[in-house]
């Protein structure tokens, strides 16, 4: 059967949302079973089944029907809710998620669902035999006559169990949010952001021009008001790309619980700051790194309960995922109260692998940074949970690609904390405007660790025109930034007297620049594809005076420098 592409895509969007609700309900039920969540779970499954059949995805519908059978029996309290049931329903959700993802590119795709389908069926019929006449109360929480006990269970809109007709008519709080929003293509939002950015630039140009002539205060006031509105418009349109991290965190909680369940560890997941917003792209790019950190935390970090008992810790391990907004960053922290990273183990491994010399003295922070090196893996044996061929270096790279930073704190026996600082949006950031030769460039402020004036007595000359500069007792190679940025139009350069040191790399390098102008917030402009490929830049922007300028990628400059040094050695 052929499916209309447009309908399919609407269905797939909707399905993702429904599966989100499905997952959320399962996680809530796992924490503490409630009839409300079971009802919401049933509704999401039922609606999904209906809409999948309406677009002709019979297999999807059939599979959901199987799951729905189980949910119905749980809902009617014919079977007691056990962790096993939740695990199976979560597995079904995962299967459907993968299925949905694949359908986006291949509309006739059929996922491998028979195994989990059979498992759910077995659980459904098993319950039937165990409790023949639907009466047992699950977890001792569900009363047989829920109508009478509304006070204790806080049922707001729960239909009486078993009344099939009630589904869909009432909506749980998580679904009611959907009604007050519309789905907009990201392209349209980006276009709006671009136009409002243009407006800000034109506004600034207009203001500059008007300041040169004499105008009465009325015009000046009007201009001031317009300026404010234009800035509001820009920040509002930028906020359209922003999404709360709650959804991402929910997925992460799922990851923790899946791993814990697999390893028979009891776990308590604490989530804070779900309302903090991040750019949609940042959220997408952070998914895999966070999964990796959390798998490690639960797999290697948290001990089993008997180990925890003997070290007088609470039996269940706690993993905390939190987000916090600071003026320039969003900070995501992941912490666990497990055994810690084991400094000695890291050092031993690093020495074995010749990553550090045997007499190297490293600070704690430096030791923990070692795990971000490629091919570093401390897990003594590769487990099927964490050992999946992805190293922590991938995590670090993903964070750095977003212009973020990652730091680790860890205490043996007490646990570890990963702190990730991310820019809340990618389209606007604070930049330093610098001059090299007769050109101006922007550098993201978070890429620079310090500025200094280069005094002649700080310089130490080496052979083949290399130089070292002494900055607060550190001898750092000094290079001319202009050497990395030659342009055919402006050959020849002066030796700048201002030095900058890029941030975030343990390999240090200082760069000479000619002028340091100002800091300003900069909107990243769209560049044609072949300009984007030019090395050394992360993008282009338009400065407050209306001039276009390229945004320098300092990380690339450092990499080029050290690659070059290595190859000439």
């Amino acid at each position: 059967m052929t499916i209309d592409k447009e309908f399919l895509s609407i269905f797939l969007d909707e399905a993702e949302e429904m599966l989100g609700v499905w997952e959320q309900c399962c996680l809530k039920i796992e924490r503490s079973p409630s009839i409300n969540d079971l009802n919401a779970l049933f509704r999401s499954a039922h609606n999904l089944k209906g809409s999948s059949r309406s677009v002709g995805l019979e297999q999807v519908g059939g599979f959901i029907h199987t799951a729905e059978d189980l949910i119905t029996r749980l809902q009617k309290q014919e079977i007691k809710v056990t962790p096993e049931h939740i695990a199976a329903l979560l597995e079904a959700q995962k299967c459907l998620s993968e299925w949905i993802t694949e359908l986006r590119t291949n509309s006739s795709y059929i996922h491998e669902y028979q195994k989990i389908g059979a498992k759910i069926q077995a659980l459904t019929t098993l319950g039937k035999e165990a409790i023949p006449q639907g009466g047992g109360s699950a977890f001792g929480l569900f009363d047989e006559e829920p109508q009478v006990t509304q006070g204790t269970l806080q049922k707001k809109d729960a239909p009486s169990p078993g009344s099939e007709g009630a589904e869909g008519a009432t909506s749980p709080s998580s679904l009611s949010k959907v009604d007050s929003s519309i789905r907009v293509a990201l392209d349209k939002i980006d276009q709006l952001i671009r136009i409002s950015g243009e407006l800000v630039i034109q506004q600034a140009a207009l203001k500059r021009k008007i300041s040169r002539v004499n105008v009465d205060t009325e015009i000046q006031n009007a201009l001031g008001v317009t300026e404010k509105i234009v800035h509001d418009l820009q920040s509002e349109s930028l906020s359209l790309r922003m999404l709360p991290v709650g959804n991402l965190f929910q997925r992460m909680e799922r990851v923790c619980r899946d791993v814990a369940r697999l390893q028979g560890k009891t776990i308590h997941v604490v989530i804070k700051g779900e309302d903090v917003e991040l750019d949609k792209l940042v959220i997408e790019r952070m998914k895999d790194p966070l999964v990796h950190i959390l798998r490690n935390a639960v797999d290697h970090g948290l001990e089993t309960s008997d180990v925890r008992q003997s070290s007088q810790k609470p039996l269940s391990g706690t993993v905390t995922i939190s987000a916090r907004k600071t003026p320039s960053f969003v900070t995501i922290t992941v912490s666990d109260d497990g055994r810690g990273l084991g400094k000695e183990r890291i050092l031993k491994k690093a020495r074995e692998k010749n990553l550090i010399s045997h007499d190297a003295r490293l600070s704690d922070a430096e030791i923990f940074q070692l795990i971000f090196l490629p091919s570093f893996s401390t897990a003594e044996k590769v487990t099927d949970v964490s050992g999946r061929g992805v190293g922590m270096d991938v995590v670090k790279r993903a964070v750095e690609e977003l212009s973020g930073t990652i730091e680790i704190e860890s205490r043996d026996g007490q646990g570890s904390t990963f702190t990730i600082n991310l820019p809340s949006t990618l389209s606007i950031f604070d930049a330093v405007i610098i001059g090299v030769q007769d050109n101006l460039y922007a550098i993201p402020i978070q890429d620079i660790s310090q500025f200094f004036n280069i005094e002649p007595d700080m310089i130490q000359s080496l052979e083949n025109q290399r130089e070292l500069v002494n900055v607060r007792g550190d001898s750092i190679p000094l290079e001319q930034l202009g050497d990395y940025l030659p342009s055919s139009q402006s050959p020849g350069y002066s030796r700048g007297t201002i030095g900058i040191i890029p941030k975030g790399n343990h390999k240090k390098l200082a760069l000479r620049i000619d002028r340091l102008l100002e800091t300003q917030s900069v909107v990243v402009g769209d560049l044609a594809q072949n300009i984007k490929k030019v090395p050394g830049f992360v993008g282009g922007t338009i400065l407050a005076n209306g001039d276009p300028a390229m945004i320098i990628d300092l990380k690339h400059v450092i990499d080029s420098h050290f690659t070059k040094i290595m190859s000439t050695c």
Binding site: E198, D483, P486, G525, N530, P535, G536, S560, K564
Partner: protein
């Protein structure tokens, strides 16, 4: 693009009375006249102040701010080695799925419609100032042989990066 040409050809081969005509923009590079399909051009603007971009080829003169949009500028006069440009020229702005781009030319000659049957799609230009992969066709126009340039091919294929004199070598190694 290719399907479009195919359609036009099939129209004429079936002997239909309606011949396809397309408007072309003719312009000067030095003394020679060239043409581009008018539909490919977003606008033609006066010279704008521009800023150079390091690590690029000499004919890529830099970027300019066109009403808030950053536009890269390729000087066709330098790029195709026509002559050393001695005046600012005129900017033709193109836009496609790879972004917007400007080409600097000497001056606009005119806009005129060409019949598909007038255009020689097979023969490359004999004097070949323009590399063959960027030639859309050749047409006899007002007693001159005019090369029609495939602008899309230039802006999607042409490499702008040049790192010959730069220390920015890591990516290239």
């Amino acid at each position: 693009m290719s399907t479009e040409i195919h359609d036009e050809k099939s129209n004429s081969s079936t002997g239909a009375m309606l011949e396809t005509t397309d408007p072309y923009l003719f312009f000067n590079l030095g003394l020679e006249i060239f043409g581009v399909k008018l539909a490919a051009i977003r606008e033609v603007v006066e010279p704008q102040p521009f800023k150079t971009v390091p690590n690029t080829i000499p004919s890529f003169v830099g970027i300019c701010n066109l009403r808030g949009q950053i536009i890269g500028l390729l000087d066709f006069r330098i790029h195709f080695g026509i002559k050393n440009p001695n005046h600012l020229g005129i900017y033709m702005i193109f836009e496609n799925e790879h972004g917007a781009f400007g080409a600097i030319i000497d001056q606009i000659v005119c806009v005129d419609s060409l019949k598909e049957t007038e255009i020689d799609r097979k023969n490359a230009a004999p004097q070949a100032v323009i590399p063959p992969q960027y030639i859309d066709g050749v047409v006899q126009y007002k007693e001159q042989l005019v090369i029609l340039i495939d602008i899309k091919a230039i802006f999607s294929k042409e490499e702008l990066t040049s790192i010959a004199h730069s220390k920015m070598m890591a990516r290239a190694v």
